[in-house]
């Protein structure tokens, strides 16, 4: 798809995963979240007034892009070197750290992912397709300690009964802690150290490598948009802090893809 295609069609096809607050579907069927809201604003600036949203399981975002099911994915996927081999990312749109959801009172006294690795009897849940599993493995958590759940919403029940913790991004965890009873977010939480650096995620929009023209136009508009107050308003409304917004602007996609 080229920008011209999109312009002449009058709309663009986007996709997001069902994950509050990065991207999700509201009861009325419309998409919301950091990714979708920013994408809509950026496309508007590019003269495309309509975005058609597909909501799809997180794990199928990249296969869907490859299968030309949609033009871009707005789910704040972490920009990682492996993903960069599959798709082309925009400059980072957000930055977020990791988090842990535990039972109220944090009975196992967990403060970071590495604590889980220390006690092999502990179980930790992650959502299928998320990169938290890589961080867990990197700090020494074993396969048999990990429970794969299909959706964030399953985390509440899982943490109550079948797992000691749920590992996700800090925002997801805080949204779940807000909505659920008898659970809490681990605070203070130490981000896991992988390859000698604390983990930090930089979420961006993913495009097909073939659609360079559309990607470049979007990327340019996004960089412009990041400078506006409207942009900050969107991000803060979903709970992102000023520091996180700054941290996102400080990184560039080329470095992230190179693993720096």
């Amino acid at each position: 798809v080229t920008l011209d295609d999109v312009k002449s069609a009058g709309y663009v096809q986007g996709a997001t995963a069902n994950e509050v607050p990065y991207g999700y579907m509201k009861e009325d069927g419309s998409a919301a979240g950091i990714g979708p809201d920013v994408a809509v604003a950026v496309f508007k600036r590019m003269g495309v007034n309509e975005v058609n949203w597909t909501v799809t399981p997180f794990g199928t975002l990249i296969p869907g892009l490859k299968a030309r099911r949609f033009a871009f994915a707005a789910a704040e996927q972490n920009i990682s070197p492996e993903r960069c081999k599959q798709v082309t990312f925009t400059e980072p749109n957000s930055s977020y750290g990791e988090g842990l959801l535990v039972k109220k009172g944090n009975p196992k006294k967990l403060t970071t992912y590495a604590d889980i690795a220390k006690d092999p009897s502990l179980k930790v849940a992650v959502v299928s397709g998320a990169n938290n599993i890589d961080f867990l493995r990197a700090v020494g958590v074993k396969d048999n300690q990990i429970i794969i759940i299909q959706a964030n919403a399953d985390a509440l029940s899982t943490v109550q009964t079948r797992a000691d913790a749920y590992a996700a991004t800090e925002l997801t965890v805080s949204k779940l802690a807000e909505g659920g009873k008898d659970v809490e977010q681990v605070r203070p939480f130490t981000d896991p150290i992988v390859d000698g650096k604390p983990v930090r995620n930089y979420g961006g929009f993913a495009f097909r490598p073939e659609d360079k023209d559309l990607h470049d136009a979007f990327n340019k508009a996004l960089v412009e948009f990041r400078k506006t107050d409207d942009y900050k308003k969107i991000l803060t409304s979903y709970g992102l802090s000023e520091e996180s917004i700054k941290a996102a602007a400080a990184k560039n996609v080329a470095d992230l893809c190179a693993g720096k």
Partner: protein, 221 residues
């Protein structure tokens, strides 16, 4: 949010579920007849093709089939929208199962009926469509009723290819409200009601086919 407010999105999902289910049941039935009749053909190529089709679709999980149709075929340039893909896949699956039903029902028509038709010099095609089919169709109905419900339940898997069916809406709702118990209870009830509706339709068709005393069961014993 109360359960009343969950109804709107769930109903929207239910609508999609019903559409996909009905469409694929109808198309699947057509396929089932084509493949089922082909299986009874004396031409080895025709029955062979039908056999391969049936084995392929009965033998692999629906999830794999959906993935292939939705995410793999576009890589070689064949692409359909999600709803079409969902309907197509489910039709092919239902058709494969239905083909065996059709074949079984055709084989269950007593040989004596075939002999009577032959003695009256009916052609093979005529015997198939005017003697065998009307009798076999009645016997197929209960099995097709089961297939219809099976098909309905299988539509729950199309959320994989981003179709906003009932299951998908339930998942989304739960994502926002974190109220699993209510959402899932409503969802189960929703499927149950749709299934009852499907069964009702099947029964009505069956009653229509059994009209009069023509098939008061003892007819060919």
């Amino acid at each position: 949010m109360t359960w009343m407010q969950y109804l709107a999105p769930l109903l929207k999902g239910a609508q999609i579920t019903v559409i996909i289910s009905l469409a694929s049941i109808v198309l699947g039935t057509i396929l089932a007849f084509a493949a089922g009749i082909a299986r009874t053909s004396s031409n080895p190529i025709v029955s062979g093709i039908a056999f391969v089709y049936i084995v392929l679709f009965r033998g692999t999980p629906l999830l794999v089939q959906l993935f292939w149709f939705y995410y793999a075929l576009p890589l070689i340039g064949i692409s359909f929208n999600p709803i079409t893909t969902g309907i197509m896949t489910l039709s092919l699956l239902t058709g494969a199962f239905g083909a065996e039903v059709v074949r079984g029902a055709l084989l269950a028509v007593p040989v004596s009926q075939y002999e009577a038709a032959r003695a009256l010099n009916f052609s093979k095609t005529y015997t198939l469509w005017h003697i065998f089919m009307p009798q076999a169709v009645v016997e197929m109905m209960p099995a097709f009723g089961n297939l219809a419900v099976q098909n309905l339940k299988d539509t729950a898997l199309v959320s994989l290819i981003s179709i906003a069916d009932l299951t998908f809406q339930a998942q989304s709702l739960r994502n926002i409200t974190l109220d699993s118990a209510t959402v899932y209870t409503l969802t189960l009830v929703g499927y149950f009601i749709i299934a009852l509706g499907l069964m009702l339709i099947v029964r009505l068709i069956e009653m229509k086919l059994r009209r009069g005393a023509a098939f008061s069961r003892s007819a060919h014993s």
